[in-house]
């Protein structure tokens, strides 16, 4: 299992900044990102795919979304 980025409660653009930072640091592997708004979910997904990462899964629960991205 990869790294977890907890961006819950953080407003735009913090979730993307934190995700990009992890993507740049790891270069490949799997990252799990926690966000609590639809906007953050979309922004993180867009930033990840723009950097060549794959959206593996998005789960929604009461507290928000769990996004899993990966790159080989």
């Amino acid at each position: 299992m990869g790294v977890i980025v907890d961006a819950k409660g953080l407003s735009c653009p913090q979730p993307v900044i934190l995700t990009v930072k992890e993507m740049d640091r790891l270069q490949k592997g799997e990252i799990e990102i926690l966000v609590d708004t639809d906007t953050s979910k979309e922004n993180v997904s867009r930033a990840a795919t723009a950097k060549g990462w794959t959206l593996k899964n998005i789960e929604e629960d009461e507290s928000g979304f769990r996004i899993i991205i990966s790159k080989d």
Partner: protein, 364 residues
């Protein structure tokens, strides 16, 4: 439903929304709103501040239904797509102060980013300095964001919290209906109205409200944000939001040509002054405040509509900021900057820098 959601999250989605805002703004102008001010969030919140008597600048007093529509339209969209999430607690006092200074800067330039775009699309060359200032202010904001600036986490909270700004807006609408404008009267019940000047110029209430609702609904779906447009370009080289902002300018320009509302030049532009340095400086302050607060004034209204209590605090900051601007002689007029406008911009920049430098923490 899911397909509909995706449409507005796509590039074409945001382009369509930006273009619609540009067209709607010009239609509202044709129907009575002030020139190059079909829709201006800062100006209209300033007019609301005047309608409530928080300032007594006689020419800018009107309870703008567009603003009410933006919040309620966003609320409706958020509920329709199960996105309403009541949240608050991310440095509200800081957001209030940023709202106050965002408005002070905006009223030195005479507009928000939306109006800067509309003024540019209407041929007002002074808007170029405002747009450059906006970019400059946001650029400074991205430097803080890169060095760890953030306002901390919000918390999920009672639904009531997210409803307070929408309810306030419904209250404002009720006041308008109870105390409607009367010909030649500057006061009706508790509300102030303008007899002359920009505040006296407005499209019919119902048209303004319906267009406001449509824009609020679409902007909530697409996350339209003019500050984010420039910020994301600088920070991530992303052009998603930018394409919406550009679409607004292009659509407003074309609509202006069709409606005969395009008048290129620098002097005698409607509700504008020619002091380039302070057109620039005012928007540097606004742009920085928007970047530190995470959204342009329109976006703050849409966020407030989907339950963001912190964005609501920013909105109230802007309304109070308008009161301060006009009461203290900070706001500009077509003659130029107000007597205390320049020191206010400098103080505002210092306050924003103080906030930016002292609220940095690298989140692990």
């Amino acid at each position: 439903m899911p397909k509909f959601i995706q449409i507005f999250a796509t590039r074409w989605g945001i382009i369509v929304v930006g273009a619609l805002i540009g067209v709607f703004a010009q239609i509202l102008q044709k129907l009575g709103n002030p020139s190059n001010m079909g829709v201006c969030v800062a100006c209209f919140e300033r007019d609301i501040s005047g309608a409530l008597g928080l300032h007594r600048a006689a020419v800018v007093q009107y309870m703008r239904p567009e603003i009410i529509g933006f919040v309620i339209g966003s609320l409706i969209a958020a509920y329709a797509f199960k996105e309403f999430r009541s949240r608050a607690g991310s440095a509200p006092i800081v957001r209030f102060i940023l709202g106050v200074f965002a408005m002070i800067g905006g009223l030195v330039f005479l507009g928000c980013p939306w109006r800067a775009a509309l003024r540019f699309a209407g041929g007002d060359g002074n808007a170029i300095f405002g747009l450059l200032g906006l970019i400059g202010g946001i650029w400074v904001g991205t430097l803080f964001l890169k060095s760890g600036y953030n306002l901390g986490r919000s918390q999920k909270t009672y639904v009531t919290v997210g409803w307070l700004l929408p309810l306030t807006m419904l209250g404002f609408l009720a006041l308008m209906l109870i105390f409607p404008q009367m010909q030649g009267q500057d006061k009706s019940g508790v509300l102030f109205y303008s007899i002359k000047g920009p505040g006296s110029m407005h499209a019919p209430l119902l048209v303004s409200l319906v267009i406001g609702l449509i824009i609020g609904f679409l902007a909530q779906r697409s996350r339209f944000c003019t500050m984010g447009a420039i910020r994301d370009l600088i920070l991530f080289r992303q052009t998603h939001l930018l394409s919406g902002f550009v679409a607004l300018v292009v659509a407003a320009f074309i609509t202006n040509l069709i409606l005969g509302q395009f008048n290129p030049g620098f002097v005698k532009q409607p509700v504008a002054h020619t002091m380039s340095l302070w057109n620039f400086g005012g928007m540097v302050l606004s742009g920085l405040a928007f970047a530190l607060a995470g959204g342009c004034p329109g976006r703050q209204l849409f966020l407030a509509g989907e339950g963001d209590g912190d964005a609501a605090v920013f909105v109230f900051g802007m309304i109070v900021g308008a009161g301060i601007s006009h009461n203290f002689g900070l706001a500009s007029s077509p003659d130029g900057v107000g007597p205390y406008g320049i020191p206010a911009v400098i103080i505002g920049l210092l306050v924003c820098l103080f906030i930016g430098f002292t609220m940095r923490k690298q989140v692990a």
